[in-house]
Amino acid sequence: MTTATPLMLASGIVKRFGALVANDSVDLAIGPGEVHALLGENGAGKSTLVKILYGLLQPDAGTLAWEGRTISLKSPAEARRLGIGMVFQHFSLFEALTVAENVALALDGTEPVSAVADRLVSVSEAYGLPLDPRREVWRLSVGERQRIEIVRCLMQNPRLLILDEPTSVLTPQETEGLFATLARIKAEGCAILYISHKLEEVRRICDRATILRHGKVVATCDPRQESAASLAQMMVGSKVMPTRHEPVLSDQAPFLRVQDLSLRSPDPHGTHLSGIDLEVRPGEITGIAGVAGNGQDELFAALSGEILAARAEVIILAGQPVGHGDINTRRKLGAAFVPEERLGHAAAPRLSLSDNALLAGHATNGFVRSGLVDKPGTLGWVDRVVAAFDVRKGPRDPAASALSGGNLQKFVVGRDILRNPRLLIVSQPTWGVDAGAAALIRQALVDLARSGAAVLVISQDLDELFEIADRMAVIFHGRLSPAQPTAGLAREAVGLLMGGSGFGPGEARARDAA
């Protein structure tokens, strides 16, 4: 592989965004027919590099060569003409259109939709990616939507297929299916650039790995010759402390009890919740696993009080029915919340940290006296959160958007943990956060539970839940499985639940029939 001309060779790629150097003289060589991993933490510059390879961004310096010939890619259309296909992490599909219509739109030709549908069926069968061309996209699961994107690329006979974090939205079983497909694609001689931060996957399916850190290439290696720990160390630059966590089961009465919660999503393409039962006990971390878009957002909104329940008794908090109580009523009863979106939901981007402390704490932290805001009080709170959670920042009270993802996440988690809540509900606590911050946040959640608080973690990261949760339930199509002790729970069993088996008929069928 080292002797042959690389299929794609990027040399000395530099890309700046203002003061930030996202790619700093990056070299990358992808051989024909190889599965090449691009490894790195969030913010290491992986996405910037692949956007350059796909013609979405133009490098400030450096060159690209395709089969030894220097090229400049001004648009994705040019990249596609060369034979480069890309499957994005966030799909670009029209929900109201059918599978075939979506694919036909992406193909640059004038082929009629019926012909596209025929070709789509044959390609999808050949690669083991079953798809019904006539179904509307909004009816499909995330895994099926990803199949559309992959088939769409394969129909253009690519020579290089770029996949951006493809397994982050899949169940373990769907991941196996994807790997089988990738093996077939590779056998046909197509090269694959596989972007991930999941080390075990990379070691399993990749021939070579390029590791990025802070925009620079720190190593190129054969991942099969490395251990997950050594890859992690190259990726992070230091040893990552594992979370100290011994699963325990609490026998205390639940602090939060949800009984038969059903909710219509306000979003027309959202997921309705149906018949959710859940208990969260003091001293424990209860985890809710599930593939994105199965009702996690709606569940968080219902539990936090951003959407009120139909009946007050369906949510019992500290012994009181609060289904009709707004978020501050629930906060005053000892609950605290950390939503998934840092910027725009948990924090207002352009407001200062002290304003953002006020945002979550104005009802509970004594920041407000007879309508007046205690500015020194909020600023003092910011200082305490910053010290306790190692939030790195420049000035004393910067705008929330000036912090990096990991530091802002530490702040929004910390501002609520520090007030010693009796219940913490957190969604995707470490999504898009660097390994150091993620470890600190996970440890803080475990410590909070051990100090006697009830903790509910909604996460799509199954590894994370196995690391910190004492009990685990799975959400699928707006329904929730019973929570089971994590100790002795098999990944495969959780994976099957995430794919919907074991839930019986109900919402799933209702959705299909709609």
């Binding site: 133009q58 978020i327 939901h345 981007p349 104005h362 309508g371």
Partner: protein
């Protein structure tokens, strides 16, 4: 070759204070060019326009009278705009305030009355302005109707209602058939502060409103709520603030302030209702709000500046025989430059040469 607007990483606080001043400077410079093109001496014309309104105490009082409604209205509009509620109908709320307050003055005309009349008129004016502003608020919160359109169209309804009233039921029977109401009694006129000019209690009220609004925005939880709803609606919901309740609140406040400005103006400068009572204060206040950076103190400064253009325009009409439309041109130029300076504040403009074309593969 193409122009690319790219977002700046961080915009400096100094520049954001400086940008309205740059806009004012550019407006004056364009004005000089405009006057020169019309064959006038730019220096003399600009002096009449911008210096004569601040040259003596009488002129300064006139300036205060003109600035008062602009400041009152623009402070209310700032609260709306900060919270993403686009009330464009302050002109109508101004007129409605004059109708409600004027109604009391006409009803008590010729009857024994006391010093309670003008305060009652101010209260009625605030209720009238707020009532009209509640209509777009209700349509927005209940039916998701765009408030820009509804508030703007209600302006015409309020203006035509006033027009009909002064030509019909409220016409002065002894007024030689002129379309105007009776002259208000002394108790129904805005309380004057001096004996030699027209400055009235409205100016003091406007100053108090500026201080209260500045305090509200910087120190109170309600002010934080207003800023947060405008900045990040989802985060505001997470904070437990109700967006629709806030929409009602800010529309009510801004409507009440516009209505108050309306009755103060009618009671202070005209002393009666006429078919047209405003030279466009409600619309000019939009410029004032943005020139003042949606900040109450900024609105005070900007309101005084815009008042200068009103008076300068009148002076120029007399001294230079320029049409009053020149004032409108000035105000339009000013808003244009304010928005343009803001665009440069947020974005960086680059000229990108298209890369040399590759040979086709």
């Amino acid at each position: 070759m193409r122009l690319v607007l790219s977002k700046r990483e961080n915009s400096s606080r100094w520049m954001s204070l400086l940008s309205p001043l740059i806009a004012v400077a550019l407006t004056i410079a364009s004005g000089a060019v405009l006057f020169a093109a019309m064959g006038l001496d730019p220096a003399k014309a600009l002096a009449i326009y911008f210096l004569s309104p601040i040259s003596d105490t009488w002129a300064l009082q006139e300036l205060a009278v003109k600035a008062t409604p602009l400041v009152l209205i623009s402070v209310g509009l700032s609260l709306c705009y900060l919270s993403n509620n686009w009330n464009i109908g302050a002109e109508g709320q101004f007129v409605m305030g004059a109708i409600f307050g004027g109604g009391i003055a006409i009803a008590t005309h010729g009857v024994a009355n006391g010093p309670w009349v003008f305060p009652a008129m101010m209260l009625a004016g605030m209720i009238g302005g707020a009532a009209l502003a509640m209509i777009p608020a209700m349509l927005k919160t209940r039916l998701s109707v765009n408030e820009i359109l509804t508030s703007l169209m209600l302006v015409y309804i309020a203006e035509l209602l006033l027009d009909w009233l002064v030509r019909g039921p409220w016409r002065d029977p002894k007024g030689f058939n002129f379309p105007q109401s009776v002259m208000f009694e002394a108790e129904a006129q805005t309380i004057r502060l001096t004996s030699d000019g027209r400055i009235n209690i409205g100016t003091l009220i406007a100053l108090v409103v500026v201080v209260l609004a500045a305090f509200l925005l910087s120190r109170m939880l309600k002010g934080f709520e207003i800023r947060l709803v405008g900045e990040a609606p989802r985060a505001a919901r997470f904070a437990g603030f109700s967006q629709s309740r806030l929409t009602w609140t800010v529309f009510a406040i801004s409507g009440a302030l516009a209505g108050l400005a309306g009755i103060i103006e009618v009671g202070g400068t005209m002393g009666q209702l006429q078919p047209t009572i405003s030279p466009g204060y409600g619309f000019t206040a939009i410029i004032v709000a943005f020139l003042g950076r949606l900040n109450p103190i900024g609105c005070l400064i900007a309101g005084v500046f815009l008042a200068i253009t009103f008076i300068g325009g009148e002076n120029a009409q007399i001294a230079l025989r320029l049409p009053l439309d020149v004032t409108r041109v000035f105000q339009g130029l000013l808003l244009f430059f304010v928005l343009a300076c803001d665009a440069f504040l947020i974005y960086r403009v680059r000229l990108v040469r298209s890369a040399p074309q590759e040979r086709s593969a």
